[in-house]
């Protein structure tokens, strides 16, 4: 199993992902500069959090045209695993690999805090090691995390079980108070039709050691590792 972490100018969570996968979980993991286009040999590619291209124009709008993204499109079409975290989620939406868009948080505040996520679908390589309905403690750190899609798209996502994570209370209730950004249907993460491209706003790589306050993020990475 080999992970590739894509680094755009302005990416900031690449080293956190590298630490979680390489040091904590002992996996083979490389950085991939956004101008590289060779993704052969990788089983899972991660688009980490940050502010690629300064979030100019819209979060993820410019990164989507980086040379590596055509390779990521092909990689996804081949059914290999793509995980977009935070800015990575925004880039995947801009690239059309995932539906919808991430708007500014409804309160216009940058939020860096713990959130609780209810696992809605565990029939995916990203979540296969977690019980459905389990609540994960994983932090967010973003300004543009307010998930939006039109009614028809939302209905399709819900009907097909493609909402993977929903913001909830520690007890697992998806209430308005537990929603940190105004995301429709409390959506924190979604998957594509093929089930191999996942985008999520929370940062699992920042919940990988007890010292950090949670190890729940490892459950996602271990699911990926054990699915191979």
């Amino acid at each position: 199993m080999k992970f590739g972490i894509i680094v755009f100018p302005g990416t900031w969570s690449d080293m956190d992902c590298h630490h979680a996968l390489g040091i904590v979980l002992g996996q083979r993991v490389d950085y991939i500069w956004h101008k590289d286009t060779d993704l052969s040999g990788y089983d899972c590619v991660i688009l980490p959090g940050g502010f690629s291209y300064g979030d100019y124009l819209r979060a993820g709008a410019i990164a989507r045209f980086s040379p590596v993204m055509a390779s990521v499109q092909r990689f996804a079409q081949e059914g290999k695993l793509v995980l977009g975290i935070c800015n990575g989620f925004q880039i995947l939406c801009e690239a059309g690999l995932l539906p919808g868009a991430l708007l500014p948080n409804n309160h216009l505040q940058y939020r860096c805090q713990w959130t609780y996520l209810r696992v809605e679908n565990n029939a995916l390589p990203f979540t296969s090691g977690v019980e459905k309905g389990r609540v994960l403690k994983i932090p967010i750190s973003h300004y543009d995390g307010n998930y939006y899609a039109d009614e028809a798209t939302l209905a399709e996502l819900e009907a097909e079980g493609r909402v993977v994570f929903r913001y909830c209370t520690p007890e697992g209730e998806a209430t308005e108070e537990a929603n940190p950004n105004g995301a429709l249907h409390n959506i924190a993460g979604i998957v594509n039709k093929g089930g191999n491209v996942l985008g999520m706003m929370p940062h699992p790589e920042r919940a990988c050691e007890e010292l950090l306050g949670s190890t729940d993020g490892n459950l996602l990475f271990l699911s990926i590792i054990n699915s191979m």
Binding site: A61, I62, F65, C93, E94, G100, N106, L108, G182
Partner: protein
């Protein structure tokens, strides 16, 4: 040579917290008759084209491919001929 003035605005169905906040600010200043504010982006693009139709087509493509995200934004633009 043409100058394109491009306006990108949130689609009507999209919640616009920045517009709402600005509306609140205007109301605090006493502009109580403000019914709504929608916050968007404005770009000026100079394009080297002799042909107006071609310039127009190109700006439309720019908007579709990059300047506006059709999921959340609408765009429109004005095109005026300028001295090179």
């Amino acid at each position: 040579m043409y100058l394109a003035k491009v306006y990108v605005t949130p689609r009507p169905t999209v919640n616009d917290p920045q517009g709402l906040t600005i509306k609140g600010g205007l109301e605090m200043l006493g502009f109580e008759n403000v019914k709504s504010v929608r916050f968007g982006k404005y770009l000026e693009i100079r394009i080297d084209h002799r042909d107006r139709a071609q310039a127009e087509q190109q700006v439309r493509e720019m908007c579709r491919q990059l300047l506006a995200n059709p999921v959340i934004e609408d765009f429109r633009f004005d095109l005026e001929e300028i001295e090179p």
